[in-house]
Symmetry: C2
Amino acid sequence: MNRVPLEGKVLNENARVAAELRERFREHRVLVVNLISSPGSGKTTLLEKTLENFSPAEKVAVLTGDLQTENDANRLKRYGFPVKQITTGGTCHLDARMIEKHTADWDLEKLDLLIVENVGNLVCPSSYDLGEAAKIVLLSVTEGEDKPLKYPSIFFKSELMVLTKTDLLPYVPFDAAVAIENARRVHADIEVVKVSCLTGRGMQDWLKWLEQRRQTFLAGLSQPVG
Amino acid sequence: MNRVPLEGKVLNENARVAAELRERFREHRVLVVNLISSPGSGKTTLLEKTLENFSPAEKVAVLTGDLQTENDANRLKRYGFPVKQITTGGTCHLDARMIEKHTADWDLEKLDLLIVENVGNLVCPSSYDLGEAAKIVLLSVTEGEDKPLKYPSIFFKSELMVLTKTDLLPYVPFDAAVAIENARRVHADIEVVKVSCLTGRGMQDWLKWLEQRRQTFLAGLSQPVG
């Protein structure tokens, strides 16, 4: 099916808006990360535990995408930080225009960190730049070790792979070392943290990664956009 | 983003090819089912256990879709039935043309059942008719009970929901009754079977469903295409 010409046009337009967003986020010194995974890999749960760990003084906000329902925003609003749901209707990914629209009335000066939770989809969101500083892919240990090989684009484009639901490792046929090896066959430099949101194990590694990424981001602001 | 005009054209063309396929499958009395789920919900494992349960005399074939790798076909070929991998490159779903192309050299007279395993994606495959008699959605118990509400299209269009990985129920915060209730809010008549491919529990319900669906299909062949 020949969808290339229109897809190219759509992606060019998206890239243009994303570049503007990126510039805006840099101006206001807001680190933006874009969380991508299959449905049910634990993006929202990771965010719940992340927000729970933050002090109320932390300047963090969340945009959370789904085809339907406000469920995720309702779950995340309980922690007292600004949260907005982006309901895409049928669209299988977030795009830069949606981020532009939903951040238009936010005072970015009041933010240090914006976490975007994409629609649950391991394929399409990888094509849409949202102006983020970093993409992060989640893979739950129930999904199988070969996912990085089957869905290489998102693993190639992500700085970090978060292996989630590690508490289930005793009950599933999943070898974390093999999964990491597969991810590194696609993207040699991908970083990895392993977390269990149920037990809290690994949460500090994840929070440390976020903090260090913010430091790198701020240090990079003196350089031109890459 | 205005993608509607081209998407409409693509879907119309897909529907045309799918209608031809459906007619061809009916002529040759082949029941075709289209398995759809998130990546890692257990489609390939369910197929492994299904083929393992079939007698060698069973006239079944499998088409299995992925963005990359021949992993699934290699796993499924061990059971001695015809299996073909459809590698889509970047495309996030199977379409009717791919099915047409990959079944072109098969003698459908020699088949009773064709199982199509779609690309792992709970969104996009729901829009593409493959000429199947029935769509089947898999949901693993690790994915959360609200998935039918967040991804309603595929649950609305599926005749059956297979709840997979039920052996993990003791270790995950998942209430099967709530998941089923959510699926039925979207699609009141959806049928449900629960399986654990690890323990084999529920496999007979699934095989029975397939057999009964085949009987309904054959009984319906005397009627015009609906």
